[in-house]
Amino acid sequence: MEGNPGEELHGTEAVLELPLLVALREDHSIDPSLDPGLSQEDLLFLYSSMQRLRALDEKAIALQRSGRIGFYTPSFGQEAAEIGAGFALREGDWIFPSYRDHGMALMRGYPLEALVGQLFGNRSDATRGRQMPNHWCDRSVRVVSVSSPVATQLPQAVGAAYAVKLRGEKAAVIVGFGDGGSSTEAFHAAMNFAGVYGAPVVFFCCNNQYAISVPFSKQTASSSVAVKAVAYGFPGVRVDGNDLLAVHHVVREALEKARAGGGPTLVEAVTYRMGPHSTSDDPTRYRTEEEVASWAKRDPILRFARHLMARGILDEAEADRIAAEAREEINRVVKECEGAPPVPPESMVEDVYAELPWHLAEQRKLLAGKGD
């Protein structure tokens, strides 16, 4: 047989690998080309914000373990990615978050009280106990309602970005998801639509290496998530997700480009989920202690602290004080929210439609007097 077509196809294959952008070096100094040039005040605020997120996650896990809330999805290990990206957002920008993007939402101005209230699903929850914990929203800061089906928010973010563009607003949309989400049909559709319409959206993928138990190597044969952007006709950037300043720098540039009419960007923050997927999961079933230990050395909070200490902005005592203050704040808010009364039974049938239709008015009668 002459000219084996299989060989010809193999001959056209090329492996495209994107570099990993890293700002914080091993010696705790910063690569000047990736330094976002933040003030000392901002740097300390970012450090406190990471501590606050970790304190929240630790408290929430404890609340779940003691049966005070039903569920939680912590972001241990992903604090730099969440806080770094969130700090790049401005008023007017939209967040279409996943259930692990509470750090980003807090940075956009989503109140801690609202987030904690949602965990309890009682009258302190602005969404009236409609969803399990980690599924929050707040229209006043354009933080859109979180869903459990993975990546459904991606095409929605493109639609919102199109609306922003059509109205000529100088704003951008960021949409959070994970490595698992990059396998969904919604991801493909959203990336494709965003490219076609030049939508002002930043696809922010926290690649934490696991979709519950399935490792990234089984999620895709691509060399990264970021590289997939190439096929959709816009840039993909791969950044060290445990490096707060590198993430912030990259996301800020992507958002600025979007606001200026430069179209979409896919940012992949390469990180590691130090905790479980959720409180319902045992990660020792699918990954080794050695692997976890190797990532623990790259803890994003510790890494940022060392950088700040090397620059003389932070010392051990101040770091301890910030961490203690964060825990106190979380404890205070938990106390405030936990004591709120339960949601009224009749609220079950409300907000299905703008107005209560006859059949739900009938069903509401079944709920009368069912409150404690």
Partner: protein, 324 residues
């Protein structure tokens, strides 16, 4: 008043509302330069521009997902699904997102999207160009499901849908697109959602139907009339939330009911109608509620005429019910 076909009435409603509401945008496959595969959007791309009449890539989940995002951010999107048969890739966006956003956000993020989709058989479209999937959506809390059967209703109901605070699935019976003509009021005349229409009055039996089965019901009712049976034909128009008073009022009067649709019989919308009738007006009933519907099969190509209920089949059911 102007005389229009049903598809012209749809187009007229879209144009009217685009003129009235600058936040209204259209999106879908082939709806721009091509004016839609059924020409429902013909001329709108030229008139309102490509920023408001978007040709989309071929992905229904993307179309509906994008429409939801547009609605969340304050636009009024009307998305076209080229055929109702192709709505399933968007099922997750419709059922998990569009219908539940208001509820799960406690009213902060309603998603008032209108999804238009030609549905039903009668055009030799076979399995994948003939389906009537309305029951899936009626079963999903948070959606409004509408199916017009006349040009005037198509225009008026679509105007209401485009102003509804709730997401609306607007099925257009494609068999009627060009086969029915009627007078359509000009100007701003929305037909309220959630109201049925009495097509003809009758004292002996209520025939409850919608969409492309309305003309079939009318033919059957005319034949029944010749036999001395007075049939009240009711076009449900909005399947959900339905006009319960129209249903119970009519059946309480006639004491008999036949429900008719072309979608498969089992667990179809007619089953809900039958259940509601026996729950609410049981003591008025003189006969069991009968169902006339499509077969519980995929939609057949060669046997389409046998699959779709015809006036003869409906008349048989009317006679059976009256003589029970």
């Amino acid at each position: 008043m102007a005389v229009m076909t049903l598809v012209q009435a749809v187009r007229d409603a879209l144009a009217f509302e685009m003129e009235r509401n600058p936040a209204l945008v259209l999106l879908g496959e082939d709806i721009g330069q091509n004016g839609g595969v059924f020409r429902a959007t013909e001329g709108l791309w030229e008139r309102f521009g490509p920023e408001r009449v978007l040709d989309t890539p071929l992905a229904e989940s993307g179309i509906v997902g994008m429409a939801i995002g547009m609605a969340l951010a304050g636009l009024r999107p009307v998305a076209e699904i080229e055929f109702a048969d192709f709505i399933y890739p968007a099922f997750d966006q419709i059922v998990s997102e569009m219908s539940k956003l208001r509820y799960r956000s406690a009213g902060q993020f309603p998603a008032p999207v209108v999804l238009r989709a030609p549905s039903g058989g009668g055009i030799k479209g076979g399995i994948y160009h003939s389906q009537s999937p309305e029951a899936y959506f009626v079963h999903t809390a948070g959606l409004v499901v509408v199916i017009p059967s006349t040009p005037a209703d198509a225009r008026g109901l679509l105007l209401s849908a485009m102003r509804s605070p709730d997401p609306v699935i607007f099925f257009e019976p494609k068999a009627l697109y060009r086969t029915v003509k009627g007078e359509v009021p000009e100007g701003d005349h929305p037909v309220p959602l959630g109201t049925a229409r009495i097509v003809r009055e009758g004292k002996d039996l209520s025939l409850l139907t919608y969409g492309a089965m309305v003309p079939v019901a009318s033919l059957a009712a005319a034949e029944a009339e010749a036999e001395g049976i007075g049939v009240e034909v009711i076009d449900m128009r909005t399947l959900w939330p339905l006009d319960i008073e129209a249903v119970t009022g009519s059946v309480a009067k006639t004491g008999r009911a036949v429900v008719l649709h072309e979608a498969p019989k089992s667990c179809g919308f007619g089953a809900e109608l039958a259940a509601l009738i026996q729950e609410k007006v049981f003591l008025h009933l003189k006969a069991p509620v009968a169902r006339v519907a499509g077969f519980d099969t995929p939609f057949p190509y060669a046997l389409e005429k046998l699959y779709l209920p015809d006036p003869g089949l409906v008349l048989d059911s009317i006679r059976f019910t009256v003589n029970f």
